[in-house]
């Protein structure tokens, strides 16, 4: 089993919370994991990326070689396109459609969406809207993880367990909310892939 995942977003959007859930899921299943993160200057509203690698064999490089990612999971539409050179010919792009506009020259959203729709394999999801419907706009990242889950070679239950152990100390209500968000994201992806 191997999953090479590029997580993309903007500094402050919390992409590492997604990585943390997958990290726990991987470790608790005795899988190997390497995860390169962006810290530092870019966290001030710049483009941030994390290379997340999960495998049942030891992993050498902390960085994913180009053309090898199974999945680009982006919490922002334009950012989903920035790392296309990493995507394997059979890989999926799963992206949130809500733009994060903090630069004056942000392109027209339609142009960005056209590029995404021209990709061979993608899921474009309004995670912010689905999160709101779930009951809390703050769980949009977990909605995104749910939407990406069909393309990650890990049992869905393991990801659910990851959520349980990450949110346990915040109480049962938070666990349930996040599980609901995860499932809502997955459902959307399965219906719109």
């Amino acid at each position: 089993m191997k999953a090479d995942i590029i997580l993309a977003g903007v500094g402050g959007q919390g992409i590492l919370s997604i990585a943390a859930i997958l990290g726990v899921a991987a470790l608790e299943n005795d899988l190997y994991l390497k995860q390169a993160e962006t810290h530092g200057m870019s966290q001030r509203g710049g483009a941030v990326v994390s290379h997340l690698r999960i495998s049942d064999k030891p992993i050498a490089s902390d960085l994913i070689p180009m053309g090898n990612a199974d999945l680009i999971l982006s919490v922002e539409p334009m950012e989903s396109l920035r790392y296309l050179p990493y995507l394997s010919p059979l890989g999926y792009v799963v992206t949130n459609t809500t733009p994060f506009v903090n630069i004056p020259n942000y392109p027209e959203v339609d142009k960005v969406m056209n590029e995404i729709r021209s990709l061979p394999r993608f899921v474009a999801i309004d995670a912010d809207q689905i999160a709101k419907e779930t009951g809390n706009s703050k769980v949009s990242n977990v909605v995104m993880l749910g939407a990406a889950s069909p393309f990650i070679d890990l049992d869905f239950e393991k990801i659910e367990d990851g959520i349980r152990s990450i949110f346990a100390r915040k109480g049962e209500e938070m666990v349930e909310l996040n599980l609901k968000a995860l499932r809502a994201g997955r459902k959307f992806a399965e219906e719109n892939r």
Partner: protein
């Protein structure tokens, strides 16, 4: 066995605690900051009351760590690569004094300059000071080196450098912890003169350091971190330093056909390298940072093109390595996915919405309009983003503290007005002595200490000048009539512009302190309270 999912920096923090460290000393700097933060939040560190407060700068941190070593205990000092420039005097001379308790200096380099002014390679400093250098290839080694580095330092009798790079610092992997070692007891140095570098003693110490070089080499040859890995294809031999070893293994799925010397401890294991040279037709050197090993192997006269690496463009001369660059250097095919579509715009970092530095720059720009551009010297921190649109207020960012001193030099040259913009932590780090120079010479300049009561660029650590800035300025000799505190808010804009105008026109030293807490820090504080 239980695995812990640790960033490289966290592995080092845990390793140091488990290695019996009694104190960590540091000034924040990406990518080294989280080592100290990890220790600050660690339960065992709290139980043991391990020293873990921030220091004012890297030099004070280094010297305090050396003092703890003098007293017989184990200490680690952490910094980013440019921090070692600040601490270099202490570092180089501590190789002369040697240590008592084990001392590790952990230095985090930033090739490709993700968050730094340059990409200097700290291994040069290690070689310069003639001490052993450790360079982990993975997080487990990072843990092991931090844990066992104190013993290595005690055995070698000198500080040991632990050199990491951004990728190692900020990449996570499962690591296995080992037993927790006891701390050392308080114990004065055996030789009461060891730490007195008067020439007569210093010469003796230097001879000892020179004589120790053979022993350090022997330690490298026998180090568990250095390995000769044979391979069937002798057309090429590879020297893979630190994390580059992983990129090499990635290219061959863990089965490299060429002989490899994996280097994770310096001085270079000469015997292994010589064997590689004897057995292989060509050598490829993979190293993160500068071509230090490559230059050593090539020397001055070798034009045989046997040695490949960054100097002959087999690899790029600058920037960090990755599996694709290494694959290309090995003549392997690199598969790239689709190109980045043209609509994708750059997204550089920016000041946060509502940040006080923004109000400062808006007011300064208005007040400075009548003088023209090019008169504002600045420094390193979030406020450096004032160099970018829409502000473009500042003209310099060189090294911590350089705003005040460069403005003074420009004022000496006759530039009017000469303005410095510096953050509160940078002021504490290296601004105060420059201000003293300016006061002593009655320089004509305006100093803006943009005080967000936090070391924000590195994640909001406590600033060591908190609550003391006006007192420091007065103590250094600035006229209290020209020290002003103002709250940088949009509603105070006119008042700020007026104040800047007045003080820019004043012939002498003025200090303006716009003070409002960093909004990130404020919201973190509120969250933690809730």
């Amino acid at each position: 066995m239980q695995k812990h999912l640790f960033l490289g920096v966290e592995a080092i923090g845990q390793g140091a605690i488990d290695g019996g460290m009694s104190g960590v000393y540091a000034y924040p700097g990406t990518p080294s900051t989280e080592i100290t933060e990890f220790i600050q939040e660690n339960e065992l560190a709290e139980q043991r009351n391990i020293h873990r407060q921030w220091s004012a700068n890297e030099k004070t941190a280094y010297e305090a760590a050396l003092g703890m070593s003098y007293a017989g205990k184990r200490a680690m000092v952490c910094m980013k690569h440019v921090g070692l420039n600040v601490a270099a005097d202490a570092f180089v001379n501590s190789a002369m004094t040697g240590i008592n308790g084990g001392l590790i200096v952990t230095v985090a380099d930033d090739p490709s300059m993700h968050s730094s002014q340059n990409e200097q390679d700290s291994r040069f400093y290690g070689r310069f000071a003639m001490v052993p250098v450790l360079e982990p290839s993975n997080q487990q080694e990072a843990y092991d080196m931090a844990r066992n580095g104190f013993q290595l330092s005690e055995k070698a009798g000198v500080p040991v450098m632990l050199r990491i790079t951004t990728r190692m610092a900020h990449s996570r992997a499962g690591i296995i912890r080992k037993d927790v070692l006891e701390e050392n007891q308080l114990r004065l140095p055996h030789d009461p003169k060891q730490f007195i570098l008067l020439p007569a003693i210093a010469r003796r110490r230097y001879n000892l350091l020179l004589q120790s070089q053979d022993a350090f080499l022997q330690m490298s040859e026998e180090s568990e971190y250095n390995k000769y890995l044979d391979g069937p294809d002798k057309s090429l031999g590879i020297v893979a330093c630190g994390i580059s070893f992983n990129y090499l293994m990635e290219c061959f799925d863990g089965q490299c056909p060429y002989p490899v010397v994996k280097v994770s401890q310096y001085p270079l294991p000469a015997k292994m390298i010589k064997r590689l040279r004897l057995e292989c037709n060509q050598l490829l050197v993979l190293e993160e940072g500068a071509p230090l090993v490559e230059e050593m192997l090539k020397g001055f006269f070798d034009e045989s093109s046997i040695i490949k690496g960054r100097l002959d463009n087999t690899l790029p001369r600058a920037g960090e390595l990755n599996p694709d660059l290494v694959a290309k250097a090995l003549g392997l095919e690199v598969q790239s996915g689709m190109p980045v579509p043209e609509v994708v715009a750059n997204r550089p970092p920016a000041l946060c919405q509502g940040c006080g530095h923004q109000d400062v720059y808006r007011a300064m720009n208005e007040a400075l309009a009548e003088y023209g551009r090019g008169r504002v010297f600045s420094d390193i921190g979030c406020y450096t983003l004032g160099a970018l649109p829409p502000y473009e207020t500042i003209s310099t960012c060189v090294d911590m503290g350089a705003s005040i001193t460069m403005a003074k030099g420009a004022a000496d040259a006759g530039l009017i007005p000469a303005v410095a913009v510096i953050g509160d932590s940078t002021f504490a780090h290296s601004g105060i002595t420059g201000l003293l120079d300016a006061v002593n010479e009655k320089a004509n300049m305006t100093i803006v200490i943009s005080d967000n009561e936090s070391v924000s660029m590195t994640g909001g650590q406590d600033s060591s000048a908190y609550g003391k800035i006006e007192t420091i300025c007065q103590g250094v000799g600035v006229d209290p009539a020209h020290i002003h505190v103002i709250i940088p808010l949009r509603k105070n804009h006119e008042e700020m512009v007026e104040l800047f105008r007045k003080e820019l026109a004043y012939e002498g030293i003025s200090v303006i302190i716009p003070r409002r807490e960093c909004i990130q820090r404020a919201s973190r504080r509120k969250r933690n309270k809730a």
